[in-house]
Amino acid sequence: MGPGVSYECEVQDGSHINEDHFYPEIIHPDTLVQLPHGQQGELVFTTLTKEGMPLLRYRTKDLCTLYDGQCACGRTSVRMGRIIGRSDDMLIIRGINVFPSQVESVILEMPEFEPQYMLVVDRVNNLDTLQVQVEVRRDFFGDDIGRMLNMKKTLADKLKSVLSISADVKLMEPGSIERSQGKGKHVIDKRKLV
């Protein structure tokens, strides 16, 4: 969207949206139905003054709430609350957009691993960390530690080239990553985003 969409005032009770330039709406991320202000949903913007590249109901995929009414600072523009999550499964790790499907495609390419994986995201000393846990297939497990470590390094190198950030690969025993019904759960985000 570019800068200048919204700003925080001294009261710090949500971010004031510049409604004369950007028209905000909240929609339900699945049904796409517009929701009334005060309800949580996906934030959608339409630009009112951009001429070169206008956007119509641009889906930010960010989940938040819009608030009406006068702010304690006296301004009356719509405010957006804190972004509490995403409507897709994208992760932002050290400022880089990461999709679990990118990790999956790398793992599926390598016969050494089961198609089971878990991304564990954490924040250590103000730096995001990404650990990729992956199960070694029984046929590829070996007595040779050097070969096992090579397998780990090959995966780490491939992930780095695809994701543009480095991930710590953890080799797991076959069957040790929790199986889920239907849509798999592939992310554990331990970061505290407040």
Binding site: V136, R138, G142, D143, I145, L149, M172, E173
Partner: protein, 136 residues
């Protein structure tokens, strides 16, 4: 002239070795020797047991990643310099040892060796002052 060693892949997790020993104990399988090779997130438990086939079966049933590796088991006198003498011969013949572990029992010392060239290793060992075991 080789024996079968079990190699088990283990995550570094409290109590994981315990689960292996418990299963073996429940099935009356005795452990003669073992060694643990570890990295930061996983380890490989190497085991010599009384009933190899049965051990593999019950551990695989419990979802452990187990494989068999051929190793050489020798006994030599439990005196200063006897292992050094054997290793001298192996080195002279350019036999590389991937790993080995040992335990002493009275006046005998047991050594398990995993060489790169197992047949060549056995040829050399036959000329040394040690016994090579075919089975447990």
């Amino acid at each position: 002239m080789t024996i079968k060693q079990l190699s088990i892949f283990l995550e570094n997790k409290t109590g994981r070795i315990n689960e292996v020993t418990k299963i073996l104990g429940q099935h009356g399988i005795n452990m003669h020797a073992f060694s643990m090779a570890e990295t930061t997130d996983f380890g490989i438990l190497r085991l010599i047991v009384s009933e190899v086939d049965k051990a593999v079966e019950v551990l695989r049933e419990a979802n452990f990643a187990v494989m068999l590796t051929d190793v050489v088991w020798i006994t030599c006198p439990n005196v200063a310099g006897s292992l050094s003498h054997i290793l001298d011969h192996l080195a002279e013949q350019h036999i590389f040892i991937e790993y080995m572990y040992a335990f002493a029992e009275g006046d005998q010392a047991n050594v398990i060796i995993r060489p790169n060239d197992i047949d060549h290793c056995i040829q050399v060992l036959k000329k040394c002052d040690c016994n090579i075991h075919n089975s447990l």
